[in-house]
Symmetry: C2
Subunit: 244 residues, 2 copies
């Protein structure tokens, strides 16, 4: 429990390899995660090769973790393996659709998070790359993902070379609803975001970006409406291109 | 690591409550999971009330875990809270789209799996309900989920009242690809699925359903093409109805 509670994302890694047997053990643990109908509708692509990391890097906006980590794992929705098995067994698969895209995503993400929990327990540090769904087509090309395989998240992993402060979280009452969803009043929002808004690093963030509020840093700088809408179209088209 | 490796899904629970402070601790751990931009784009609805479980049950095809578990957790994509905060802070949110539906799903699923790992560490048993994305609209109504909130998975949790055998998994080489995706040959498929096909419980499954192959049990009985396509449309429409 302490590992879970004390965790922090690690973006800087030592120049030190992860032994193959340790990686194997972590991946074995990941594959014990729950999976729909025991179908395991996911694949994991392991990148160790520097040239391959260099090919992946632009898809992740050249965030330094990609080339700085000893290992990059791309977790993919995979309905291909299961469909191939069906076809080879006189069965007609019907998994090239939106429901199975989402189901494959669930499977892949439960495996990814189990991997991360296990890795952190072993003293490794991890960082998720949300950029995976921004530039899926570039990842499809870099990792040669065929039809019915789709990258849903990426994890960089290595031995920590930093010990950052733990970042804030919203109070639990912001996230948890008893019995039914209790919608937020204006007063709720003020109260639940007060601590986050009060933090010196967030105040600095507002100042550096010359904004009036922290929320504006998100909407005007980090994740704008225009970019989000364009990225939605990119994601949708990439999903279609992969056969879903 | 042993908890992760030895885990099994638990569908039968003791008639014994989960203490509020234990649940709180597990939810706190869940909320330490990685989240995009530290935005926490998810909510968790806790169901303890028997009448509410009865309302949820049909959405999960009346699987007995829903009414049999002391607690049912519905993990939801939630862009509502963040958008409300933005609107209240002179910022224009742009999170009502497909990219953020997927991003919210990633956030919610990492939190869900962290909850499950923590719960199992404490001796609790869990079961994921994949039915959540089959009947999302029924869950939206049962839990009164407003616009920009969407149920992505459900976990039943309680003290185990069974100790089932651990189920099989594909060999790790079926899931893991080195550097690039290595497509499966016919011989690969035969080799990778041989163990699963050889298991007595799976042979029995084929026989009981009067099928020729195990794959046909999946395609003709469990997850047919027709139902999957209909469920895709249902999921898509529900996503749209919730404002994404």
């Amino acid at each position: 429990m302490d590992t879970l509670k004390q965790r922090r994302t690690i973006r800087k890694y030592q120049q030190r390899e992860i032994p193959a047997d340790l990686l194997h053990e972590l991946l074995e643990a990941a594959c014990r995660a729950s999976t729909v109908g025991n179908m395991q509708t996911y694949s994991i692509v392991v990148t160790r090769d520097a040239a391959r990391k260099a090919r992946l890097a632009p898809a992740h906006f050249n965030q330094p973790m990609v080339q700085g980590a000893p290992i990059v794992l791309t977790f993919c929705i995979d309905l291909r393996r299961f469909s191939k098995w069906c076809e080879q067994r006189k069965a007609v698969p019907g998994y090239d659709n939106f429901q199975w895209f989402v189901t494959g995503a669930i499977d892949a993400l439960l495996a990814a998070q189990t991997f991360c929990v296990a890795a952190e327990k072993k003293g490794l540090g991890i960082c998720y790359l949300g950029t995976t769904t921004y530039n899926p087509q570039m990842i499809v090309e870099a990792l040669e993902l065929p039809r019915l395989v789709f990258p849903i998240t990426t994890v960089t992993v290595g031995w920590p070379d930093e010990q950052p402060e733990q970042v804030d979280r919203l109070p639990l009452e912001a996230i948890v609803h008893e019995e039914v969803y209790h919608d937020y009043t204006a007063a709720d929002i003020d109260r639940l975001y007060a601590y986050k808004e009060s933090l010196p690093e967030n105040r600095k963030f507002v100042e550096e970006n010359a904004k009036e509020t922290l929320a504006q840093v998100f909407t005007d700088v980090r994740y704008t409406k225009e970019v989000s809408e364009a990225m939605s179209e990119v994601l949708w088209q990439a999903m279609k291109a992969q056969g879903f």
